[in-house]
């Protein structure tokens, strides 16, 4: 006891303790900084390399507005970026409602029994399944079993499967982070479970859900393997029917069943050609794809930032 008291009131000891802690802080901060610098400079070097290589094509407006071609200097990414956007629209339209609904169900409605435990373990594991396995599943199920062809719809379906776990998990986390007090306030006013969820919990959880959805979509936008597996074409020299037209009924969904290509596939096709000029195209397409992905992540970060600074 006496020694303890001595230690506690030993001023010199305190000074050395503080010094040791400070040194530790500096060490950890320095290490973190180092790792961060390595990671960022790798990314930056890659991006710069692509950018410099692709610059001749990036500067050419025709690059964005032409179809692929056998001549490298005439080949463009029009069908690829249109395809990417259409596939993303289908993916978002399928995965967000399904994923949010599943997350809400698991978090708010399902009791906890062995069934929901099983579902929970599976959802978490699914997030770690290699994407090509999803491609094989889609090939077997959608193409062979259901007789669908390699269309925008099938691509959207397989990418939706791929990112559903991400959206489900982030929805659950967003809902779980809502203070119990909101829920009790709504229930205490006489709201039923659906009113509570729909009118009070989901709006409060929206930022977290949107962030999760965007993180999922930015993963989907770069996916190549599952889309190649389902047999997407690498050479598409036409655009799907525009979804909006001047004639009645003005809106059509032909594009959903249209063949397509996407940015990563276009890149892959160019990279695998022997001619050096195509490597320039590939690099330029890579820059465009990275910019698309970074933009989506920027939106996610912006939403999180806005929420954090609201209260």
């Amino acid at each position: 006891m006496a020694t303890l008291n001595q230690t506690i009131s030993d001023a010199q000891g305190h000074a050395s303790l503080v010094r040791r802690n400070k040194n530790q802080d500096i060490l950890i901060a320095g290490l973190g900084m180092l790792i961060l610098v390595i990671a960022i400079s790798t990314l930056l070097a890659m991006f710069l390399d692509l950018f410099i290589t692709g610059l001749p094509r990036l500067q050419d407006p025709d690059f964005y507005m032409s179809f692929p071609s056998r001549k490298a200097e005439q080949a463009g990414i029009l069908s690829a970026w249109v395809g990417t956007i259409l596939v993303m629209i289908v993916t978002a339209a399928i995965s967000i409602p399904l994923g949010v609904a599943a997350g809400v169900y698991l978090e708010e409605y399902a009791g906890s029994n062995w069934m929901t435990d099983l579902i929970e373990i599976n959802v978490t594991n699914l997030a770690g399944v290699p994407s090509i396995v999803y491609g094989l599943l889609a090939l077997g199920l959608f193409i062979y079993a259901f007789g669908m062809s390699e269309t925008v719809l099938v691509a959207g379906l397989v990418l939706s499967l791929l990112i559903l776990p991400v959206i489900i998990v982030s929805t659950r986390e967003a809902i779980r982070s809502i203070p119990e007090a909101y829920k009790e306030a709504a229930i205490g006013l006489g709201a039923d479970q659906w009113q509570t969820t729909y009118a009070y919990i989901l709006p409060a959880a929206r930022p977290g859900i949107i962030t999760g959805a965007i993180v999922g979509l930015s993963r989907a936008i770069g996916e190549t393997a599952p889309i190649i597996t389902i047999g997407a074409l690498t050479y598409i020299a036409f655009l799907p029917n525009a979804p909006i037209s001047g004639d009645f009924p003005f809106i059509n969904f032909d594009w959903i069943t249209s063949p397509f290509t996407v940015m990563p596939i276009q890149m892959f096709s160019w990279v695998s050609r022997p001619q050096a000029e195509f490597q320039i195209n590939a690099a330029a397409a890579g820059v465009v794809l990275m910019v698309l992905t970074l933009m989506m992540n920027a939106i996610a970060i912006y939403i999180r930032y806005k929420v954090r600074h609201k209260d």
Partner: protein, 298 residues
């Protein structure tokens, strides 16, 4: 109300905070001659009742029994204060009355809470039906992250009321009742989170009043507030006497004395004494009540 008379009102109340236990009704009571010898004491009020709790018992999901054979009347349109040491089951009892516990798994009730003119057992009703009639205000203000207006009429929306005129009218009426109207009438469509803690709590009271509940439960509604905000809410509760049946948990015995007509003292999940407030504080019937209110423990 002008801001001048308001500040007078506030000052009056602030000053009472510092006084020793002064009861609401002014007729002077003799000091406790000798603390009562009773073990428990349950006054049978002469006024009309809104509910009667009989042999209520409650268990949490983990098997903890938090309420034991609790008996107590709840007088119609009067303020009843619930006091007792921390952990004695005040919040648990309060949350039985709007069946909030039913949100969580494995809880169990036994006994009866009979709602008076209807003569139905609240424990056997659908919890949703109960919550439509019994409002609640929590210890920490918990407005929704929506506008002040939307918060006020949240309960009306839940009940499917859509007519703009009705909503507007009820919003103004309940904000006035909660003495908040003058402060927020120009910013009804701003976020409720921009209000101060005391304003938020009055907003929560307005939200609970907007649906005209039969019974209003308050769980330490002023414990997170400063003395001025507390005084305003006490004024408000005083005004509600005669309109709503109120059951309020408080740790502040001066507060219980200032605003309640009846007081119940709970200890370890049981009711020790239920009496008129001034009687309970000046002539407690039970030694345990006497010990608690005189600060000898708790």
């Amino acid at each position: 109300m002008t801001s001048f008379s308001k500040s007078i009102g506030m000052m009056k109340n602030v000053s009472t905070t510092a006084e020793p236990v002064a009861t609401k009704r002014t007729h002077s009571a003799p000091p406790p001659a000798s603390a009562g010898q009773e073990d428990t004491w349950l006054l049978e009020p002469e006024e009309e009742l809104r509910a009667r709790v009989s042999d209520l018992e409650f268990w949490y999901g983990d098997g903890t029994q938090a309420i034991q054979k609790l008996n107590m009347p709840l007088v119609d349109k009067r303020v009843t204060a619930l006091i007792g040491p921390s952990g004695c089951g005040k919040s648990t009892f309060l949350r039985c009355l709007n069946r909030m516990h039913d949100l969580y798994k494995g809880v169990k009730y036994s006994g009866e809470i009979t709602l008076m003119p209807e003569n139905v057992n609240l424990i056997e009703l659908d919890p949703m039906v109960v919550r439509l009639r019994v409002g609640m205000v929590f210890q920490k203000p918990n407005p929704f992250p929506k506008t002040i207006y939307e918060n006020t009429i949240a309960g009306l929306r839940i009940r499917g009321i859509k007519k703009r005129a009705v909503l507007d009218e009820m919003a103004e009426k309940s904000l006035r009742q909660a003495a908040l109207w003058d402060e927020v009438k120009d910013r009804l469509h701003q976020s409720a989170l921009s209000l101060s803690g005391g304003q938020q709590q009055r907003l929560c009271i307005a939200r609970a009043l907007a649906v005209q509940p039969d019974i209003l439960l308050l769980d330490e509604p002023t414990s997170a507030l400063d003395p001025i905000a507390t005084a305003r809410i006490e004024d408000l509760l005083n005004e509600l006497e005669g309109q709503v049946t109120i059951l309020m948990v408080t740790h502040n015995m001066q507060q219980a004395a200032r605003i309640s007509n009846y007081t119940a003292y709970m200890y370890m999940g049981q009711l020790v004494e239920f009496n008129e407030t001034d009687a309970l504080f000046t002539r407690p019937k039970c030694q345990r009540t006497e010990d608690y209110i005189s600060g000898r423990f708790g």
